[in-house]
C-alpha cells in the first residue's frame, strides 16, 4: 500500500496554488487538503495524481469570520478547529454537531472542512450540512473566483462543480434560526454512516415556518428531503405529521446497498433517522406548540 511516484509542491497563497494547478493541468494535478481521504486512496493506488499541490501552508484559507449574517469558513480550517470554534457554535450549530461525527478526533485534527466538501463522499457529513444550510462554495481559478450554491455543487459520487484548475477556498453559510440537528447511523463509531440526517426547523407560534432537511448516504450525492420539508411546513408538528413527512421523504428514496446494508435496511434506517433528526431539531426549535 504505497503510492506511485508523484511530484509535490506546497504553495503559500491561493494565487500560487491556482497558478500551479493551471500549469500542471495536464499532469492530473490534485489539491491536497488534510489528506485523510486522498492519501489512503493514493496508497491503495485508486488515485494516482502525478502532481500534488499541498494547500496546508496557505494561511489565508485557515480563517473563520463573520460577514453580517454569513459565516465564512476558509476551506483549510481543520475540522477539529471548526468543531470547537465559538463562531460556528453560534452561526452554524448544525455544522458543529455534524463535525463530531466525522471519523475520529485524530482524523479531524488533520482533516479540513473544505477537504471533506470537495471530496464529496456520498456518505460524508459535511456535504449534507452545506446542502441543508443552503451554503455557497467559493471557487478560485486562474480567471478569478466564482460562487456555486451547495444545491448545484455536488454532481455525483466524489465529483463536484469544481472545475479543472480551480480550488475550493471558502464555505459561506447563511445564519439560520430554528432548531438544528445532525444525527447519523454508522455501524461502528467513526465509520462511514449508512444514513445521515441534517435538519433545521424554524417554528413560528408552534407552526413550522421553514424546514430544511438533507440526507447523506442514500443517493450518489447528498439530497434534500424536499417532500418532508413541504409536508412539515405549515403544520403544527405532532407524531402524525412527522410520520407523514418521513413517509413522504422515504417514498422518494432508492439507496444503493452495500456490504454494510442492503437497500431495504438503508431505507428502514433512513426512515428511523429522519424521524429522529426532525424530532431533535424540533425539540431545539424553542417554541414548539
Amino acid at each position: 500500500m504505497k503510492p506511485p511516484p508523484f511530484q509535490y509542491a506546497a504553495p503559500t497563497s491561493v494565487a500560487e496554488a491556482v497558478e500551479l494547478l493551471g500549469a500542471h493541468a495536464d499532469d492530473d494535478a490534485r489539491a491536497l487538503a488534510g489528506g485523510q481521504s486522498l492519501v489512503p486512496l493514493m496508497n491503495f493506488r485508486l488515485a494516482q495524481p502525478a502532481y500534488l499541490i499541498d494547500l496546508r501552508r496557505i494561511e489565508e484559507l485557515t480563517r473563520i469570520r463573520t460577514e453580517g449574517d454569513t459565516l465564512v469558513i476558509g476551506a483549510m480550517v481543520r475540522q477539529s478547529h471548526a468543531e470547537h470554534a465559538p463562531e460556528i457554535a453560534v452561526g452554524a450549530p448544525l455544522l458543529a454537531e455534524a463535525l463530531g461525527y466525522v471519523a475520529h478526533p485524530p482524523i479531524r485534527n488533520s482533516g479540513t472542512v473544505g477537504g471533506s466538501i470537495a471530496h464529496a463522499d456520498p456518505a460524508a457529513e459535511l456535504p449534507a450540512v452545506v446542502l441543508a444550510l443552503d451554503a455557497e462554495l467559493v471557487l478560485a481559478g486562474l480567471g478569478g473566483t466564482r460562487t456555486v450554491a451547495a444545491a448545484d455543487f455536488f454532481t455525483g459520487p466524489f465529483s463536484t462543480a469544481i472545475g479543472s484548475g480551480e480550488i475550493l477556498t471558502e464555505v459561506r453559510i447563511p445564519r439560520r434560526a430554528g432548531g438544528h440537528a445532525f444525527v447519523e447511523f454508522a455501524r461502528t463509531h467513526g465509520n462511514f454512516a449508512l444514513v445521515g440526517v441534517a435538519a433545521v426547523v424554524e417554528l413560528d407560534g408552534g407552526t413550522v415556518a421553514r424546514a430544511s432537511i438533507a440526507l447523506s448516504g442514500v443517493a450518489p450525492v447528498p439530497v434534500r428531503a424536499t417532500a418532508a420539508e413541504e409536508a412539515l411546513t405549515g403544520t403544527v408538528p405532532d407524531d402524525a405529521s412527522i410520520r407523514a413527512a418521513v413517509d413522504a421523504a422515504v417514498a422518494g428514496l432508492s439507496p444503493a446497498g452495500d456490504v454494510h446494508g442492503g437497500r431495504e435496511t438503508r431505507t428502514d434506517i433512513a426512515r428511523s433517522y429522519l424521524r429522529r433528526g426532525i424530532e431533535l431539531a424540533l425539540s431545539r426549535a424553542g417554541d414548539r406548540r
Binding site: 455501524r187 463509531h189 456490504v259 435496511t265 434506517i269
Partner: protein, 816 residues
Amino acid sequence: MTTMDRPDAPPVRTHKENRKWVGQSIRRVEDPKFLRGRGGYIGDMTVPGMLHAAVLRSPHAHARITGIDAAEALAAPGVHAVITGAQAAQLCDPLPDFGPDPAKHTWRCLAVDKVRYVGEGVAVVVADSRYLAEDALALIDVEYEPLPAVVDPERALADGAPLVHDDLGSNCAYERTFDFGDVERDFAEADVIVTDRLRWHRSGGQPLETVGALADFDHATGELTVHTNSLSFTSYLFMVAGTMKIPANKLDIRPVPAGGSFGSKLFATKPAVIAGMCSREVGHPVQYLEDRVDNISNCDHHGSDRVYDVRLAMMRDGTIRGIDIDTVEDYGAYIQFGVGHHGNALAQVVGPYAMTSVRYRVRAAMTNKNQQGAYRGFGSEVNNWMLEQMVDKAARELDLDPVAIRRQNFIREFPHFIPTGNVYDSGDYDGVLDKALELSDYKHWRAEQAKAREEGRCIGIGLITAQERSVFSATEFWFWFDEPGAPVTSMPESVTLKVDATGGITATLYSCAFWGNSPETMVAQLVAEEFDCDPHDVAIVYQGSKNGLPATGPGGSRTTVMLAGAVEGATAKIKAKALRAAAHLLEANPDDMEWVDGGFQVKGVPEQRKSLADIAVMLHLFKHSFPEDMESGLEDSKVFDHPYTTMPSADRKDLGVFYPFMGHACHVPVVEVDLETGSVSFLAYAAVHDCGTLVNPRSLAGHIVGGTAQGIGTALYEEFVYDDDGQLLTSSYLDYLIPSAMEVPELKIGHHETPSPYTLHGIKGGGEGGRMMAPAAINVAVNDALAHLGVRVTELPITPDRLRAAIRAAKSRESG
C-alpha cells in the same frame, strides 16, 4: 462406551499454600520497552543492503494462469528480481501442510498454474524499496483464463461444483462421522428432539502488526537466517527448511516480537519462505512485511466458517441426553491444519453438561477463499456458540428457565470423562454461575427487561455457561485418520534458568518471542515464586531456533501451564545442585537442610545459611572448593512434555485425553436491540471465569477483556465477505469492521479459582475464554430481547441487514 482401558491419570498434586508471587497482579515486565517504542518489530529492523519484497495478488477468485510477462517489471528502476509462481515452484517445495493428503491440494508460497482465491500471490518483486517494488508490480502482465468460482461450502460439496483442486476429484477434503456413547438409545428415549440450523460466518484475528520476515541467505555457508514474528517454529523447524530445500541445521529462525497474533501468526510460514527465497536469489537480505490488504486477503489464518445442522435429545424435565451434530466447514482453498479445529470442538463438545452421547459428522469443503488457520478459540468457540443456542432453544421449547436448565445438567464430579474420551480435570460450575448471577445483577436486569418491554423497548439478557479447554495435545491433529502420517504425541515447552555469579536469574524462552500477552511477566512471577526473588529482577531472553530446545509455543492456551512445568523442572535441577554446594560449604548433611527465603539453611539453625548469591558466586568462580564431580556454573534446562495426554482408541470411539485442563466461564451481556435499525448495543456485561489458579489476575482480566471485544466483533461486526463470484468485499478496515472502545462496554469481571489437580499450582490456561464465550452470549441475549416478537437469529455476525430481515419476516408472518 470406551473401547479401551483408560491409562492412569497423572498423580494428583498438592499445591503450595501461601504463595508469594503467583496470584499477584504485578506490573507487567514487558510494558516499559513496548510503551517506549523499543519493542523492535520487523518493520523497525534494517540491515545493510536490505531489499524489500512485494507480492502481486490475484484479482480473480478462480482462474487459470496462462502467461506471465515480467520483462517490463524487471527493467523498472530499483528492481532486483521478479519471481513468478512457476519459478518459485522450482526454487522451493510446497509449504508445510498438516492437512489430509496434502499432495491432492498442494500449497505453495505463490500460485503456479491457477489461482484459487482473490489475493493469492502470483509473483514477487524484490526492489530497493517497497515503493519501487509496488511500482513494478503494476508492470507485471498476467494472463488469466477465469474459471467459475465456488464460495458456498454446501454448494461446493454438491455434484457439478467447480473443482478447487482437480487432483482431489471433489471439493470434500475430509469427511467422517464419529459416534461417542450410545447415540441411538439417547435419541430413541428422548421426549423431545430440538433441532436447528446455524450459520457462523468467517472472521479472523486482526493484529496491529501484520506478518513479516527479514531473511538473509549466506551463499558462503549455505545458511539461511530468518527474523520473523511468526510463532511456534522450534518444533517444526525442519518443515520450513524442507520447503527451502536446505538442511534443517542450516536454518536459524530468530524471534522478533509479534505485534499481536490471536492465533493468526501461529506457524505463519509463507512470509518467511518468500523472504528466504528472494534473499537466496538476489544475494541480499530481503524484508517482506505484509500490508493490511496482503494480510486480510492472504494471511492463511481466516477463522471458522461453519454450517450446522444439530439435533439435541432432551427429556421433558430438562435433562440433556445427547447431541447429534452435522457440520460443514468452509476451509477455503487449502487446509493447512486439517480439521484440527473440530478436535478443539470435540475436547468440550458437550460443554459443562452431563450428556452421555455425541454424534459428530464433519465435512471439510474446499472453496475459492483464503484458507483457515488459527483464531482465538480454534473452532471450539464455534461449538460453544452452537451448543448454547441449542440449550437456549431447548429451554424455550420446553418452557424452562434458562438458568435452571443449565444448572440442572451441570457436571459435578471430577475428573470427568466426556463421551469423546477427553477429560475435564476439575470444575465448579455452580460456583461460577452463582458468582455471575450476583455480579451481573441478573434479577435487576430481568425486572428492567420487563419494564422496558412495556415501553416497547427490547432488552435481552444472554446468560451462557461454557467451557474453555486449555493445553492442547497434538493428537487432536491426527486422531481423524486411522493411519495418521505423523502421530506426534508430545508438545514440549522448554525453559533454561541461569543463576549468575551474583545470584541474578535469567530465564531463556524458546519457540518465539513476545506475541502480545504477558509471557515474561508470567515466567518472572513463576521464577520469583521458586527462588523468592523480585519478579522485576528476573531477566527474560528469547532464543532462536538454531540453539533452541524443543518448544511448541503459544497455542491452545498452553503457554502458562507448560512454562510453569518447565520452570519447576529447571528450578528443581538448579536447587539440587545449589543444595549440594551449600551443604558442602556449610559442612552439613543435605538432608538436614531446607530452602528458606532465597537460600539453603540448616533446619532449625538459620545462621547456618547460604543465600543463592553466596552459592552462585562460589559455583561460578571457586570450582576447586567443591568435590571433583561438580562443574562450574549454575544453569539448567527443562524440556517439559505435555503432562496429561493419552492415545485414542484404534476404532476412534474414544479419542483419549487431549485437552485435559478445562476452564469454565459464565458470561452475562445485557443488550438492547433497536428494532428500527437492527443495531445492538450493550447496557451491561458481566463475565466470571475459572481457569484454575491465577498467576496474574490483571493480565488474565486483560485476556478476558480483549477476547470479549473480539467476541463482540464476531457476534456483531466482523466478517470476511466474499460475493457470489468470490470477490472479497472486505479487504480493508473500511469494510471489515472491528469494534473499538466505543462499541465495547466496560466489563465487570469476576474470577473463580478451581485448581487443576495435575499442574503446578493448579494453573489452567485462560488465553482464549473471552472470545470463546462472547459470541454465544450475545446471540442468546439478542434472541432473548426479541423472543416475544417471534424473532430468533441463527447466523453470526448479527448485522443490521440480518436483524432487520428477521424482524421484517416476523412482522410479515404476524400480519400475514
